[in-house]
């Protein structure tokens, strides 16, 4: 079978990811083919393989394999359409036109195709092997629907619109743009005063605040590649073992759907279940009981309700944001790449006075020894990251007794351990666990009695990812005053990997320690070797040990550098943004990105990209709400949005309780 580019009925070339995708029809069957043409495209596909497509169910030693398509490739067809299967290939013999679709036959090779000149990436990074296809690709049988692959959406309808109106080299090279430069490129320009990029929880809480303050929907555009603000969060919690009925980490009054945090989730749950138990738990926390935290499912449901109430879908525009550039004369241009074929021009420019950026995690980073292992041996099956789907590990253990090595001591490790131990209990398994800590905490730790965190058995214990008072109390006030190295030192003092001390985990782990099937120690892994089972060479306090296991789960949750995110990287190189003491985006106390001001406009950021600033709790619901408030107040100071005062706040709270839509404020109707 040949799935050649020249017979494609639709081509998505020069994609932001650095890939070429196309739709081909062969013997009445339609296929979607995606392959890389640049190094960055290759990286993005590699990430897809590693991060999202590893639920392969068998050892991925061959260079190709079938996989059930995961969340990253979302079928945007009619609801209920089964998820398509897809074929992934990698390896130097890859030929995008000839997928080796037969399972058990050894693939035969025909050499490389050349990338036709017109499909070569016009911008983006250097091509290491000019003219050649990069060595990986994805094939998928499709119907008439649209497919969403990572950040990009593809409509599988033949159309040739959307090719004009692209970025010109003049635009790409100039850090600030004039109106005429944009006009000249033919890109469609849309005017809206406030643009938020990302469309996750961070964008949502900011828009929620502004809407409640009285900003009408036509003043706001949310540019995002997801349909619902909780989508990415839902995906990440699910794969990291927090399914909907399980409880999340943040507390009862961290409510991303309610800017007041009242009634709290505990109150709502108590009301719904006609039970005082959640309230008693909150009353006793954290002394007599663990912190009460809401169920993941309750958070999604509450967000759905608030999203409808503030008419969030009206403000949402789908697409991928490529860059934000300053506009000569004030404000910004935000370049959006809408799903191919949905608009007349390839890009849309949003001209706005204000931009807010909340793009979440720039990417995942793996432990270096595990990354090396995966790359050298092409084994994405036995070495997995907790943030990627790895259900196959748990499934395998149900059929065959095995050993799992867990790396890391944070909340994700706790969740993975709980899953392993729950399964052990529920199915009577004989799973053994090797748990390697880089830092092994043996007890309360800290410089003096006023600064001592609980710990033991390897873990540092803390209810939330920072001490609670960073979200409003003493530590928030203190941090707000610190600069440079002093600030970095304070981050070091209270940072570090930690996990909540939940009674259930404690009991399970103790049982494991007593029976000897759970072994935890401090160690530095030097190397992981392949073989019948994996062997980790670990430097332990008692010397170098070779520890066998069937799987390794990386639970360290390391985040990639902000420069790995294209938009943030552009801000660093062209937008005037700089880095803070922790290497992330340096923001003001108002969450304006330092150095990016443009006339009377302002550029704000919130979320994990701003960690290291005057406020540490950024990557949490409550932290995103703190940022939203600072931003909204700053917008009020600049005379744009109304300042939310006690009277309107109370009136709006009543509307929230009654689930009535928000209404614009009198100030807007006057102007």
């Amino acid at each position: 079978m040949e799935l050649r580019l020249d017979s494609a009925f639709v081509v998505f070339d020069a994609q932001d990811s650095g890939c070429v995708s196309y739709g081909v029809e062969v013997s009445g069957r339609r296929w979607f083919v995606k392959t890389a043409t640049t190094a960055s495209g290759r990286r993005s596909l590699q990430r897809a393989f590693q991060g999202e497509l590893t639920g392969l169910g068998r050892r991925a030693t061959s260079s190709w394999t079938w996989a059930s398509t995961p969340a990253m490739i979302r079928d945007r067809g009619a609801p209920g359409t089964p998820r398509p299967e897809c074929l992934i290939e990698r390896g130097s013999n890859f030929d995008p036109g000839r997928p080796k679709l037969q399972h058990h036959k050894k693939p035969h090779f025909t050499g490389y195709d050349r990338v036709p000149e017109r499909y070569r990436h016009r911008h983006g990074d250097h091509h290491p092997r000019p003219g050649a296809w990069m060595d990986c690709g994805i094939y998928m049988p499709v119907g008439r629907q649209a497919l969403c692959f990572g950040e990009e959406e593809h409509h599988m309808e033949p159309r040739n619109a959307g090719t004009s109106g692209d970025l010109t080299s003049r635009l790409i090279e100039n850090p600030t743009w004039t109106d005429s430069m944009v006009e000249e490129s033919g890109i469609e320009v849309r005017d809206v005063p406030f643009v938020t990029v990302g469309g996750g929880i961070g964008s949502f809480v900011t828009v929620d605040y502004l809407r409640i303050a009285g900003v009408p929907t036509n003043q706001i555009a949310v540019l995002s590649n997801i349909d619902h603000p909780w989508q990415t969060y839902q995906y990440l919690t699910r794969v990291s073992q927090i399914p909907e009925p399980e409880r999340i980490r943040s507390d009862s009054s961290s409510r991303p759907d309610n800017i007041w945090g009242f009634p709290s989730y505990a109150l709502s749950e108590g009301w719904q279940d006609r039970s005082v138990r959640p309230l008693l738990r909150v009353l006793g926390e954290p002394i007599f009981s663990d912190y009460w935290t809401p169920r993941a499912g309750a958070v999604f449901a509450s967000l759905e309700r608030e999203s409808a109430r503030i008419a969030y879908p009206e403000m949402l525009v789908k697409g991928v944001v490529r860059m934000v550039r300053r506009r000569v004369g004030g404000g910004y241009y935000t370049i959006l790449t809408p799903p191919a074929g949905t608009t007349a021009t390839k890009r849309i420019a949003y001209r706005s006075r204000f931009v807010h950026i909340a793009v979440g995690y720039p990417g995942l980073r793996f432990l270096p020894d595990l990354q090396a292992f995966r790359e050298t041996h092409g084994d994405f099956h036995h070495v997995v990251n907790a943030y990627e789907p790895h259900e196959h590990v748990y499934e395998y253990l149900k059929t065959t007794p095995g050993t799992v090595m867990v790396r890391g001591g944070g909340i994700v490790a706790s969740r993975v351990l709980q899953r392993l131990m729950d399964d052990r209990e529920k199915f009577g398994l004989r799973t053994e666990i090797e748990h390697v800590f880089r830092t092994f905490v043996t007890g309360a730790h800290g410089p003096h009695p006023w600064s001592r965190r609980k710990g033991g058995n390897g873990f540092a214990y803390q209810g939330f990812n920072y001490p609670k008072s960073v979200w409003g109390g003493q530590l928030k006030a203190k941090m707000r005053r610190l600069e440079g190295e002093e600030r970095a030192a304070e981050y070091r003092r209270m940072g570090g990997t930690n996990t909540p001390k939940r009674r259930r985990w404690q009991k399970q782990l103790q049982a494991g320690r007593d029976a000897g099937w759970y072994r935890a120690y401090r160690g530095l892994v030097e190397e992981v070797q392949p073989g019948n089972r994996l062997t980790s060479v670990v430097q332990r306090d008692d010397g170098v040990q070779k520890i066998p296991s069937d799987f390794i789960i990386d639970c360290t949750g390391l985040e990639a550098d902000i420069a790995d995110h294209r938009l943030l990287n552009d801000l660093l190189t062209n937008g005037g943004a700089g880095r803070n003491p922790l290497g992330r985006l340096e923001v003001e106390r108002t969450f304006e990105i330092k150095g990016t001001a443009s006339g009377d406009g302002a550029l704000y950021a919130s979320g994990t990209a701003t960690l290291g600033g005057y406020f540490p709790g950024v990557d949490t619901f409550l932290g995103l709400q703190v940022a939203a408030q600072e931003i909204a107040d700053d917008l009020a100071r600049r005379g744009w949005a109304p300042r939310l005062g006690p009277l309107r706040s109370t009136a709006q709270w009543i509307r929230w309780i009654l689930n009535r839509p928000v209404e614009g404020s009198a100030q807007w109707s006057r102007s």
Binding site: G261, V282, R453, K454, S469, G472
Partner: protein, 139 residues
């Protein structure tokens, strides 16, 4: 809650003045207590509170999280009430003749304490959106 020292004091004064007064106005007719005495007691809770809050702030320093659990906010009513009662019976509270009957004092103090505590744990955030992020500071 995650208060800072000045936030503790401001919140205490504000809530006693507003919620405490309303509760007192409603409650006094039901108790053998004069309005004057009831408001002196209320003022004493506020003024003595400065000292108490200093102590709580100090104790809070031993907590890694620098937070003040909800339950603490409720239970501290017991020592505060006892000390005030002791001062009243010892005649150490100015502007008040004799100590009010014990049960009237206990009811008044208890109800005020509970409502103030409840208000601080939720309803307060409704009009004052910024309050919880500023360690309880209102000004």
């Amino acid at each position: 809650m995650v208060p800072i020292l000045i936030g503790r004091i401001q919140t205490r004064f504000f809530l006693i003045a507003l919620v405490g007064s309303l509760v007192t106005l409603a409650l006094v007719p039901l108790l053998t207590l004069s309005y004057r005495d009831a408001f002196v007691v209320l003022t004493a809770v506020a003024v003595l509170g400065i000292g108490w809050e200093l102590l709580y702030h100090l104790l809070m320093q031993f907590r890694w999280e620098k937070d003040w659990p909800t339950l603490f906010g409720l239970l501290t009513g017991v020592p505060e009430g006892l000390l005030l009662w002791f001062l009243l019976t010892a005649g150490a509270v100015p502007l008040i003749g004799a100590a009010p009957p014990g049960w009237a004092f206990a009811t008044h103090f208890g109800v005020v304490w509970m409502t103030v505590w409840f208000a601080a744990n939720g309803p307060m955030r409704v009009p004052f959106l910024r309050w919880r992020f500023r360690g309880g500071r209102l000004l």
